[in-house]
């Protein structure tokens, strides 16, 4: 219920991206601005599912609906790490496993 009432919206919007910055210790408004700057959109757009669908599809960083040939799971996270300029532990581990 909290998701509907007060959540960012997960991968339907930019919730997972903002959460990654909050998890690094950024306060919510700072995290939203950081993500919006990286995405090239406004902070207001971050929780707009229509706007974020377009942005997520264009960046190929995963959406709620499956699409042919689209990145999901680890592939999407590799792109998210590059986009946000952060280290994601599982991405680092995956790269090490495939020796890159």
């Amino acid at each position: 219920m909290h998701e509907m009432a007060a959540g960012m919206g997960g991968i339907r919007t930019a919730g997972d991206l903002v959460a990654r910055m909050v998890m690094k210790g950024m306060k919510i408004n700072e995290a939203k601005k950081y993500v919006a700057d990286k995405l090239g959109c406004s902070v207001f757009d971050l929780s707009d599912s229509a706007k974020m669908k377009e942005i997520r599809e264009s960046l190929d960083i995963g959406t709620v609906l499956s699409r042919t040939n689209a990145a999901t799971g680890m592939a999407a996270k590799i792109k998210i790490a590059e986009l946000l300029d952060i280290k994601i532990p599982s991405v680092e581990k995956f790269k090490k496993l495939i020796s890159i």
Binding site: A5, A6, D16, M23, G62, P89, S90
Partner: protein, 350 residues
């Protein structure tokens, strides 16, 4: 306009109150937090906003656009496969949260939600985390509780302080807690390390302080070690209580006494441990009204966010954060808590 608003008691029972009655409950709840937790009172603008939220005619409410926060979970993968008994495994539960419920984060956890129990199955838990990380886009935590009481006899190796204390053997009780603290801390460092190496985005120390101040210190010291060892591992620390019980009473962390800490001091210890976010817990009094409980919780939370240098993620489930103490939390209360915590309490998430 009819001066009667549907609201609830702290046990979830529905009641009708007038505006004056709601205002009186809000005032008394706030004063309780000011007196007990040495919090600053809510200002008039906050109280007016809270009254608006309490009197909104809609059954469920939500934050205004732009005021959203991030949602996190404790007992994450226990909710669908175990508590709701839906026949899906944990990895499916994670995907349901990501793709259907659209959670911002999620937590992988074991049915025995204690670090001590997980030590026996850490290899399998690590593999579950590896698989989850391959499939999920959103951040995935691993979480459990310190549950330091598990280290006591007859099941554990350490003398049971709950036996020693009533017998007046204070020193024995304190010694036992100090021994258990070390064992508990080492287990949490071991499991946190294995999960970091499995690729977890974060570690959650949940319900810290459930066995008192030594329990909280075990988690704080483990967090300090892990935050230095794995700088990219996010650490979040959720409390057991609105204040740390002084089962030992004299233990210190980074120069601060832990027993008796309320949120405004708890968060400073969590920051000192190098954790990245703080899970604030305010207990619901089931004999008081929802208005009383929410005003009281908000007063504590606003004080914590005022001094915080890291995000504050308010625990807002059954029996905490103003939400009634019932397993089926009424959504009218749940959503009012969501809105109030973010818009008045200035929390970063839930």
């Amino acid at each position: 306009m009819k001066d009667s608003f549907f609201t609830r008691m702290g046990d979830g029972e529905g009641v009708w109150m007038s505006k004056a009655e709601l205002e009186e409950e809000v005032q008394k709840g706030m004063e309780n937090a000011v007196k007990k937790g040495k919090s600053q009172p809510l200002d008039k603008e906050d109280i007016d906003k809270l009254m608006d939220i309490l009197m909104m005619p809609a059954k469920n409410v939500s934050v205004e656009r732009g005021n959203e926060g991030v949602v996190t979970f404790d007992a994450g993968t226990l909710k669908l496969p175990v508590r709701s008994n839906i026949p899906v495994d944990r990895s499916t539960a994670l995907m349901i949260h990501e793709r259907i419920l659209c959670s911002d984060t999620m937590e992988l956890c074991h049915v025995d939600y204690s670090y001590k129990a997980i030590k026996n199955i850490i290899a399998e838990e690590g593999m579950a985390m590896e698989a989850a990380q391959m499939n999920c886009i959103m951040p995935i935590f691993y979480g459990a509780m310190p549950n330091m009481g598990l280290y006591t006899q007859p099941d554990g190796p350490v003398e049971n302080w709950s036996v020693a204390l009533p017998e007046g053997r204070i020193k024995d009780a304190c010694d036992a807690q100090e021994q258990a603290l070390e064992l508990c801390k080492e287990d949490m460092i071991f499991i946190g390390s294995k999960m970091a190496e499995a690729g977890a985005c974060g570690i959650q120390f949940d319900t810290i302080g459930a066995s008192g101040d030594a329990d909280a210190i075990a988690a704080l010291e483990a967090a300090k070690v892990l935050s230095e060892k794995y700088p990219d591992l996010s650490i979040t620390m959720g409390m057991a209580n609105e204040f740390h019980l002084g089962m030992h009473g004299k233990l210190m962390f980074e120069g601060e006494k832990i027993a008796g800490q309320y949120p405004v001091r708890q968060i400073k210890s969590v920051e000192a441990a190098g954790a990245h976010s703080y899970g604030c817990v305010i207990n619901t009094n089931s004999s008081k009204s929802f208005a009383w409980n929410l005003a009281r919780s908000l007063t504590y939370v606003k004080e914590a966010t005022r001094v915080a240098n890291i995000p504050v993620l308010v625990n807002a489930g059954m029996g905490v954060g103003g939400i009634p103490l019932t397993n089926t939390s009424p959504t009218d209360c749940t959503t009012r808590v969501s809105k109030a915590m973010l818009e008045i309490g200035k929390a970063d998430g839930l």
